[in-house]
């Protein structure tokens, strides 16, 4: 792997050097967006890219039909004389090193006003370190690893619920299940072993202990794997009541296929976002993952609603419904754009101050957060998540009861 990656990087760098620098108009403000546009996570990266392009359309063109979404009504940023935004996309190739060098390139050569991305927590980690060094705001809409906001960074913000919020949501859900008579005595966590999976597994462990649950089986694995049968057999041996997968797309698909081949079904299967939220996951293995539970803050809503209209715009670009991960990326970008507008300037310090002063209300958001307001570490203290379940060929909201549109179906059905 290392060898081919090095060659890939060399090739891309060589190609990059030969391209002429893109011309820049004076009245546009450039934002750098680092996403996995090639490599194993490219399908999630392309979804995020499409979502950001929809956000760009909403910001740069008048969309009075989108209610209170910031910057929707006007064309461009009103506080900057109607200046338009422009996104410079950069491919992180699924590698923390490439993500870091792309951040450097976007800041020093493209002169972006701010950065967003980078999907994989492990890459957000390295890319945001560069932004911190250069004093450029970095807003991640979707990276959840706990350590990202434990570094004392002053230029890093994120709108997404983080690992600890997610763990809280799962624990509350499991308590509800227990109260309803469902057996949840033993829990297994199967996690990919980079920043994202490791971080979620760790906070799940802590949250479980605090809530009197027992995680008695940990199966870490590398997401870039060719086979997962042995892991499924470990699960089959131990028979946990609940299995929580923390996976990216390719490995999530392999797990569902292996589970069917080995005829294994836990009573409760939770797939933590990422891989399970990828539209390609539903399309390829949705029919053999019936009843899989996932977290989400995205709900398409009723026809005519703001979220419904946004989903229609996205569908026109990408051909599928907006998923939670791309939705969170889009919400992050809209938040960033709103801050730049309020800053009334592209000066990094002013954008940073505006981000700190962010106070978006639920009706100004497309995601189901209770608002956007950053704490001292840069986390959104109003982030929230609900649980959705695969029923038929799509996800439906099933928990908590207030937001549920269909009853939770247990046990996990599979195929």
């Amino acid at each position: 792997m290392g060898f081919t990656k090095i060659w890939a990087m060399a090739g891309v760098l060589a190609a990059g050097l030969m391209l002429p620098p893109p011309a820049s108009a004076q009245d546009t403000i450039k934002i750098g967006a680092i996403y996995p546009l090639s490599g194993n996570a490219a399908s999630a990266g392309e979804s995020a890219k499409a979502a950001l392009e929809v956000a760009l359309d909403i910001i740069n063109n008048p969309h009075p039909e989108l209610g209170n979404i910031p910057l929707a009504k006007t064309a461009g940023l009103p506080n900057l004389k109607g200046a338009k935004l422009d996104i410079v996309f950069a491919d992180n190739q699924g590698s923390p090193a490439v993500g870091q060098s792309q951040a450097l390139r976007l800041i020093t050569q493209e002169k972006v006003a701010a950065l967003t991305g980078a999907y994989q927590s492990g890459i957000t980690q390295t890319a945001s370190a560069i932004a911190e060094k250069y004093g450029i705001p970095f807003l991640s809409g979707e990276s959840v690893a706990a350590n990202l906001t434990e570094r004392g960074f002053k230029w890093f913000f994120r709108t997404t619920p983080v690992a600890s919020d997610i763990a809280k949501t799962y624990m509350a859900f499991l308590k509800d299940l227990k109260a309803g008579g469902q057996k949840v005595d033993s829990i297994a966590v199967v996690n990919e072993n980079s920043d994202y999976g490791t971080s979620i597994a760790q906070v799940l462990d802590e949250a479980a202990k605090a809530n009197g649950f027992n995680i008695d089986l940990h199966i870490p694995y590398s997401a870039n794997t060719t086979d997962v049968q042995s892991q499924v057999l470990q699960l089959k041996d131990k028979k946990p009541d609940v299995v929580i997968f923390v996976s990216y797309t390719s490995d999530a698909i392999l797990y569902m296929k292996a589970m069917k081949a080995l005829d294994y079904k836990p009573a409760v299967l939770i797939g933590d976002d990422s891989g399970f939220s990828d539209a390609a996951f539903l399309k390829t293995v949705g029919s053999i993952a019936q009843g899989a539970i996932n977290r989400s803050a995205w709900d398409i809503g009723k026809p005519g609603s703001v979220t419904y209209l946004i989903n229609e715009m996205y569908k026109k670009k990408r051909g599928v419904d907006l998923d939670d991960t791309a939705g969170r990326a889009m919400q992050g970008f809209l938040t960033l754009a709103d801050a730049i507008n309020r800053a009334g300037s592209t000066e990094p310090a002013k954008i940073q101050a505006a981000l700190r002063a962010t106070d978006l209300k639920p009706d100004q958001l497309m995601m189901g957060y209770k608002g956007v307001k950053f704490d001292a570490k840069g986390n959104n203290e109003l982030a929230a998540a609900l649980l959705i379940q695969i029923q038929g060929d799509h996800y439906v909201a099933v928990w908590p009861k207030e937001t549920a549109v269909a009853p939770l179906q247990l046990p996990y059905k599979g195929w």
Partner: protein, 287 residues
């Protein structure tokens, strides 16, 4: 032995057959023709997409997609030889590596551009269901791939050791100038080798697509194991690649089950290094 352990071993053997099948074409090019084909994984990837297109447009399974993919890829292989590889045959090794690597990127991003990054998958029941033999579950699609891996290995081995064509190819690999003096056309033999190797990659891809996901980078994920398979088996030994593939499959599965999935590569590659240390020519290679 418990039933689970038997299942782990059975799964490992089927996984190993997949590795062997994936590596079969590579043995021919790398092991015999001394060209490191970095595009091999992407040949297989291309075959997986061919198989997807065959299913999507004609609604047909491996009975049609295997021969079609074999033909398509054999053509790609021959074209790649004449258009690209021929020109770097006498160039230093690094030029060959860069040329085939460029080809790999070209294929990967060509597919990326045309099909997009989305993961694709063939319907689960395209090759029948799963056999349950005394509690050991064997998916029909993987059994088929395993059986074909044996056939392809046997076929290539016989071709190389028992036919005139095989002898000519080996002669070219051994000493091109001498072969030419014997009236063998080296370019033609090299092209045949590339056609055969790519055709084998075509068969492999069409079969793997029946139980694996399909994406532009899938070849990259599997290719690293293929390179290890060929060097462990021994350069130029077709049966060696089969034995090595099966061995790696079983060791990976057992170590993932016993020690943990994150450690399986450490176990596999330590053994790999140990074997090469003791037998640099590989398990079945000639010293």
């Amino acid at each position: 032995m418990t039933a689970t352990l038997l299942q782990v071993i059975a799964g490992g053997l089927l996984l190993g057959a997949l590795y062997a099948l994936f590596a079969s074409g590579l043995t021919l090019i790398w092991g015999m023709m001394n060209v490191v084909n970095f595009a091999h994984g992407d040949f297989v990837m291309l075959a997986m997409y061919t198989s997807f297109v065959v299913w999507k447009t004609l609604g047909l399974g491996p009975a049609a997609s295997v021969p079609i993919a074999a033909l398509v890829l054999a053509t790609v292989g021959i074209v790649a030889y004449f258009a690209l590889v021929r020109h770097v045959m006498r160039a230093p090794m690094i030029a060959q590596i860069l040329a085939t690597f460029g080809l790999a990127l070209f294929l990967r991003y060509g597919v990326f551009w045309y099909f997009g990054a989305n993961f694709l998958s063939l319907p689960d029941n395209l090759v029948g269901g799963t056999y349950d033999i005394w509690g050991i579950r064997l998916p029909a699609a993987r059994l088929l791939a395993g059986a074909v891996a044996l056939l392809v290995t046997a076929g290539l081995h016989l071709l190389l050791t028992r036919t005139m064509l095989g002898s000519r190819m080996l002669a070219v690999a051994e000493d091109e100038a001498a072969a030419q003096l014997m009236g063998i056309r080296p370019h033609r033999m090299q092209a045949v080798a590339w056609g055969l190797a790519a055709g084998a990659a075509g068969i492999a891809g069409a079969l793997i697509s029946t139980f694996f996901y399909i994406s532009p980078t899938v070849g990259e994920t599997l290719a690293i194991v293929a390179f290890v398979t060929v060097s462990l088996g021994g350069f130029g030994s077709v049966p060696g690649a089969l034995v090595a593939g099966l061995l790696i499959g079983v060791i990976e599965s057992l170590s993932a089950y016993w020690i943990g999935a994150v450690y399986k590569d450490i176990v596999t590659y330590s053994l790999f290094v140990a074997v090469l240390w003791l037998r640099p020519q590989g398990l079945m290679g000639k010293a």
